[in-house]
């Protein structure tokens, strides 16, 4: 009975993450924020928007903005092909899509498995990184997708462009 309780307690404490790759790095985001995963289809660009804003797509009648995480994370650019994946997220009450290279798997992590992210100096802004995980020699970077893709940043950036 006691062991059963212990086991139950252990599974409750785990949080599930969706792992995806971008270039040579692997990231995880909270799976509860993921709505669906789609392929990369024609995106309609919106003029006068920041570079990481690729445009909008039609998601069953809803206009959803698509963000290029590579540009946001300042990785090198690649061309998008049929293997490119778009993860549709529901964050802050909005539906947003992010372009990634590929999606790997769903991982359940307990709080103690997540290690704190090291400070990499003031030059590299890493406040969107919630922690690091080691899994079979892979290092997964857990990111707070809301911080990375928040509209506030996009909006304020947009405002700067408008008044310029």
């Amino acid at each position: 009975m006691y062991e059963l309780n212990q086991k139950r307690q252990k599974t409750v404490a785990k949080q599930e993450f969706l792992a995806f790759t971008l270039g040579r790095e692997e990231y995880c985001i909270d799976i509860l924020k993921v709505q669906e995963i789609r392929g990369y289809e024609t995106v309609t660009p919106i003029p006068n928007t920041p570079a990481f804003m690729k445009g909008v797509v039609n998601l069953r009648g809803l206009i959803v903005p698509i963000i290029d995480l590579r540009i946001k994370l300042q990785l090198e650019m690649v061309t998008y092909d049929q293997f490119t994946v778009v993860i549709i997220l529901s964050i802050c009450g909005r539906i947003v899509g992010v372009v990634v290279d590929s999606v790997s798997d769903v991982i359940a992590l307990a709080a103690d498995e997540i290690k704190e992210a090291p400070q990499l100096g003031a030059a590299i802004k890493t406040d969107y990184i919630n922690g690091l995980v080691t899994l079979d020699e892979r290092m997964l970077i857990i990111i707070d997708i809301e911080k990375l893709a928040t509209m506030e940043e996009i909006i304020s950036l947009g405002k700067v462009l408008e008044t310029a």
Binding site: G61, I63, G158
Partner: protein
């Protein structure tokens, strides 16, 4: 209630108004009591007693009393709001109002009528005649219950009058034929006795007379004399259910009961029936289509096309009918301003008359709701800064009472709402001074009237000498403009110093659908709202003239229009040269431009999808739409394109 009270204040002596107010409060009391909402029932009871005095002529409605009653209406609203939405209210406000009402009661001791407010404990005999109307049972009432309740008040003797009973064969079991004459000996007041009949006063003939024990001739009384003691008794009885004092205080004067409730709509049955019919037709057309396709051969093509045309008509009609459901008359918004203008006018010591016209014009429900805040701000501005005090007005040769008018009118595909006052108007010198102070213009620059008037919409701009509670902080008109633009509309101001100002709000009627022209620039398709297009012309080299080496214009029938290259606005990489595209003449705001696109593709109705839901507002774009092949096309905002060019 509020409208009636305002009527009374304006001097109407129509007794029906008081009756109507009394009946409303009475119903609220009855309903809330039987549903267990004690706080509302209790408050309503006190209000009702006071109103009873009013309607029986024992009290004359003066300004103070009307104020008290208006505040009571606010309290009722907030109590109801608490029940509906769970918005907590400050019970101390309710208590205070109850005390004031009680004070009014005690102030008015009716003269000339014998005081049957017995000292507590004294037995009074009442002679009660209770004759239910024929349809008494139909409202779910039963005389026996009422008589039992009377019996619980004291000693009762009843005499049943059966003379109206028809023979058994002719009796309608659902009709009431009996009446009663009772003698009730009780320590309770006539008020409490009448309470037993609270639900049925309209369905019976009732008379309750206190018969003094000494056998004097009973005086006919039509109204029970309200007793402050009975008020207290009720308070004890109900136990009030005093809520904890840590509830949020609600600003009663600006309570907006409808705002937080889950959205519901009241729609006439007629509109719904119309919808049902249209859907029926749609189903029929769909069946026709299916049949056509099932046994299709090329000879049937014409018929198929006709059916599809019918299908299109049905869809369009259905669409209009559905949109019409959400339309409400503007009076919903305008109506709320009577109270606002009255209160603010009194607070500022200004005499203001509010004129409303065109209130039957209809607008989409969501637009109406979003219109309230900007309109309130404009009205407050007018009252605070525009309209002068009575002395100033007389000094300027104007009538003492200032006029604020709200007007709504349909015009084409838009609705125009005008807020006009005959006050001071905008002072161009003051605006110029403020602009210089803010560094918006050079110190030696002068402003023409038009530009000056545009400046007041800037954030932080206010020429008010003093900041009042209402306005003057300079954080107002820019928000108003933003609110209006987010509804797809525009707001402009015209003003004559000394004579007044006029704010014009223009809003599109339907937010969701627009007739659009599809244009191509590079590999992208954009949509231009047809309403803003005047004509299209093929371009050729000779038409385009340059100015100062950079600007371009085209000549159209003697007029030179500035050229706007769509590919520049939209940063489309590849486009065509000037000589090979198409000019689309657009007109907005009385300004015209020639928009250069690569080609025209077609014309159709498009459903506007919001960019802001998941992204944000983008300059020059009014939204997006989904094309037949599933791709997204961006809808251009004609106003900003035309405006952007002129600047």
């Amino acid at each position: 209630m509020e409208t009636d009270l305002l009527e009374i204040e304006r001097g109407s002596s129509d007794p029906e108004l008081l009756q109507s107010i009394f009946r409303t409060v009475h119903s609220i009391k009855g309903g809330s009591g039987s549903l267990g909402f004690d706080a509302i029932a209790d408050f309503s009871h006190q209000l009702e007693s006071l109103l009873d005095k009013l309607r029986s002529g024992q009290v004359e409605p003066n300004r103070e009393l009307v104020n008290l009653l208006l505040r009571s209406v606010d309290v009722e609203r907030s109590l109801l709001g608490e029940v509906q939405n769970g918005i907590g209210i400050d019970m101390s406000v309710v208590e205070q109002l109850k005390n004031e009402i009680a004070q009014w009661h005690s102030r008015v001791i009716p003269i000339g009528l014998p005081n049957t407010e017995a000292a507590v404990g004294q037995v009074i005999t009442y002679r009660i005649e209770f004759k239910p109307h024929r349809g008494f049972f139909l409202s779910g009432n039963d005389p026996i219950r009422i008589l039992r309740e009377l019996a619980s008040l004291g000693e009762i003797e009843t005499n049943c009058e059966i003379s109206q009973l028809p023979p058994l064969a002719e009796i309608d079991p659902e009709a009431s034929y009996l009446s009663w004459a009772c003698r009730l000996r009780t320590v309770h007041t006539s008020d409490a006795v009448r309470e037993a009949f609270a639900w049925v006063t309209d369905d019976c003939d009732l008379s309750i007379q206190a018969v003094p024990e000494l056998g004097e001739l009973p005086r006919p009384q039509h109204n029970p004399i309200p007793n402050p003691h009975s008020v207290d008794r009720r308070a004890e009885d109900h136990g009030l259910g005093r809520r904890a004092s840590d509830r949020v205080t609600m600003d009663l004067a600006t309570s907006d009961v409808g705002a937080t409730r889950q959205q519901t709509l009241q729609v006439t049955a007629e509109k719904i029936d119309g919808l049902v019919n249209l859907v029926g037709e749609l189903v029929i057309t769909q069946t026709m289509l299916k049949q056509s396709i099932d046994h299709f051969d090329i000879s049937r093509l014409v018929q198929l096309q006709a059916t599809i045309a019918l299908f299109e008509r049905n869809t369009r009609e259905l669409q209009q009918a559905v949109l019409a459901i959400r339309m409400l008359p503007v009076s919903f918004v305008f109506g709320r301003f009577h109270r606002l203008v009255r209160d603010i006018g009194m607070a500022l010591g200004k005499k203001i008359s509010l004129e409303i016209s065109g209130e039957n014009s209809e607008l989409d429900k969501s637009v109406i709701e979003k219109l309230f805040d900007p309109l309130t701000h404009l009205v407050r501005n007018s009252l605070d800064h525009g309209l002068e005090t009575p002395e100033e007005r007389l000094g300027a040769g104007k009538p003492e009472v200032g006029t604020l008018s709200l007007h709504a009118q349909h015009r084409g595909g838009h609705i125009e709402i005008v807020v006009r006052d005959d006050g001071r108007g905008l002072d161009p010198d003051k605006i110029a001074a403020k602009a210089r102070a803010l560094g918006l213009i050079a110190s030696d620059e002068t402003l023409d009237a038009q530009r000056a008037q545009q400046l007041i919409f800037r954030s932080g701009f206010s020429t008010a000498d003093r900041v009042s509670d209402l306005s003057g902080r300079g954080v107002g008109l820019d928000v108003v403009r933003e609110n209006i633009t987010s509804l797809g509309g525009r707001v402009e101001v015209t003003s004559t110093p000394g004579q007044g100002s006029m704010f014009l709000i223009r809003l599109p009627l339907t937010l969701a659908i627009v007739e659009g022209m599809f244009v191509q620039v590079g590999a992208d398709t954009f949509v231009l709202p047809l309403a803003f297009i005047t004509e299209c012309m093929q371009s050729n080299e000779q038409m385009v003239k340059r100015i100062a080496g950079q600007g371009m214009v085209v000549e159209v029938r003697g007029e030179y229009l500035p050229v706007v290259e769509l590919r520049r606005i939209c940063n489309v990489a590849d486009g065509m040269e000037i000589g090979k595209g198409v000019f689309v003449m657009m007109e907005a705001d009385n300004k015209r431009v020639a928009l250069l696109v690569d080609a025209l593709i077609g014309q159709d109705q498009v459903v506007i999808k919001s960019l802001e839901t998941n992204y944000r507002r983008v300059d020059h774009l009014a939204g997006a739409t989904i094309l037949g092949d599933g791709r997204v096309a961006l809808i251009l905002d004609a106003n900003s394109i035309v405006r952007g060019q002129i600047h």
